[in-house]
Amino acid sequence: MTSSPAIVSARGPGAARVRTPGQRTAQRRKALTGWMFIAPFGVVFLLFLVAPLLYALGLSLFTKGLATGTQFAWFANYIAAFTDPSFLRGVGFVVSFSLVLIPIQMAVSLAVALVLDAVTTRFARFSRLVIFLPYAIPAVIGAIMWGFLYSPTFGPLGQLFGLVGAHAPSLLDGDHVFGGLINVVTWQWAGYYMIIIYAALQGIDPTIYEAAKIDGANARQVAFRIKLPLVTNALLLILVFALIGTLQFFTEPAVLRPVSNGGITPDFTPNLYAYTTAFSYAQFNYASAMSFALGIVVFICVYIFLFLTRKRGSFLS
């Protein structure tokens, strides 16, 4: 695919078929060079991805009790996790959270990207930057800011509701925390997704639009019948990122927990629960089992998803 006719001819006639010993050593040397370029990444990959994963797998197969010491326990930790109401509630939360969040985020970012692709005024360029800006802001800061805005003491809600003589609801208590967090995460990430879709839209060959115009397509048809199908790869990429991120939801609930008046519990999401289990209760074997289970489940879900939606020339093929 990568070799152009020019290179084939440069190698001389018949190079592909008959290899002289000199060419073979040249090829071997080239392979070795290739490996040398990849080697640093290979080392990092083994040390900080493969090793922790294997180590977590190992740890997760043991239990540690005060009386019993460390014992090999097969899948006891996994059975414990998948029958632990805290863990299951957390999993339930992140799954339902993704089901609500991801469609909203994708709809917002797609709508904005389509508008920005069609409108090229100075103001549109300015809004593109502003909408992207939250991506440059750490999730911790985003969560702290929204925490302030939600707060009945600091935020504008108290005053707004005060105007009509009502008490402001706390957007982080048990009833509202779902929506409150949806808003924080959408604010944080929609701009990034928008830029990815926008970039894909900008990459479309404009002559297609001319052709569509000649065929009598209106702006709406161009948007939904031409642009949308042509950016499916970008949408899939976003979906995958969003899925991986949301199932691992940690930073925002961790930061907002102290100001949530109990709306966010230590077992609110599986990752938060694993963190609490490891660092507050020092149950590292159980925490490893949860981390590993969660990582594998996310990996399998995403892999199946990508496999089902794969196309030639897309991310996985």
Binding site: A31, V119, V255, L294
Partner: protein
């Protein structure tokens, strides 16, 4: 960027369309307001004292006394100037992690794109698979591993895991595959340049836009990281600014009475901490906007 005005017939709209642009622009204006609300709140409230924050006249407008300088002074002197240290730590982690992981990703991406060798497809498939492993799932296992090696609570505990950037390798491979032509590399080799020199002097300049993108994105990722340093560090002199502000926030909400002064520090501290990244993004616009297409077009 701004050549739109001089070339009237790009993909942009023509004259008669300007009027129809009003509805979309209103839509954009509403979104701009929404996306700016938290920033607006932060800029306004950084001027307030703790008393102004609580009993203030309005959350979205200035209080009577505007005191940015006083708050800044408090911020940088509180607890022996710990905030400045956090900023420095964040910068160190972001630079070391960002530059390190980018160098590694550029080398590997170039290797995958331009050399045929046995095991290449398998390794690349492994790499793609690892993009889908949520990196947060690795934090707790990596912590335990590092604890056994007595590496936790050191700067290495944050920097070393940040070197892993499979998506960066993917981006670099795609970009190098398109932007660096084999002819050019072969020409350099025929001229007698060694492989590494060919890479440095021929391939690398061509890959520059993607390099800047990957560098920016990985520096942002490290600067914004929270879970990893939170787990790895317990000495608050080593905290990056994200973990530090998180600490202040939990301290402030734990003792509502005594923590008043901390609230105003958190607000202005948040504002100061985002300024470097906002500047980086605004000034490097053309790089990351171009670079982000790499992943989405393929």
């Amino acid at each position: 960027m701004t050549t739109m005005t001089t070339t009237p017939r790009q993909s942009g709209p023509r004259r008669p369309q300007t009027r129809r642009n009003i509805a979309p622009q209103l839509f954009l204006a509403l979104l701009v307001i929404y996306f700016l609300i938290p920033l607006w709140w932060m800029v306004i409230n950084s001027s307030k004292s703790a008393a102004g924050l609580f009993g203030g006249t309005g959350a979205m407008w200035f209080a009577k006394d505007i005191d940015y300088l006083g708050n800044l002074q408090d911020l940088f002197t509180y607890d022996g100037g710990i905030y400045l240290r956090w900023l420095g730590n964040s910068a160190l982690y972001a630079l070391a992690g960002g530059i390190g992981s980018t160098v590694i990703a550029v080398l590997a991406g170039y290797g995958f794109a331009k050399f045929a060798f046995r095991g290449r497809n398998l390794s690349f498939a492994l790499l793609l698979g690892s993009v889908m492993v949520p990196l947060t799932a690795l934090v707790i296992p990596t912590f335990i591993l590092f604890a056994n090696l007595h590496l936790t609570d050191t700067i290495w505990a944050v920097i070393l895991p940040s070197l892993l950037n499979p998506f960066g390798v993917y981006l670099m491979r795609v970009y190098a595959g398109d932007a660096v032509s084999d002819d050019l590399l072969d020409a350099a080799r025929v001229d007698g340049a060694g492989e590494f020199r060919t890479f440095l002097q021929v391939a690398l300049p061509l890959m520059r836009p993607a390099v800047v993108t990957v560098l920016l994105l990985s520096m942002v990722a490290t600067w914004n990281n929270f879970f990893l340093p939170l787990a790895m560090l317990s000495d608050n002199g080593l905290f990056p600014v994200t973990v530090g502000l998180g600490l202040w926030q939990s301290l402030a909400s734990a003792n509502n009475g005594g923590g008043h002064s901390l609230w105003s520090l958190i607000v202005i501290g948040s504002l100061v901490s985002i300024i470097p990244l906002v500047i980086a993004f605004l000034s490097l616009q053309k790089y990351w906007q171009g670079g982000l297409t790499i992943g989405s077009l393929k």
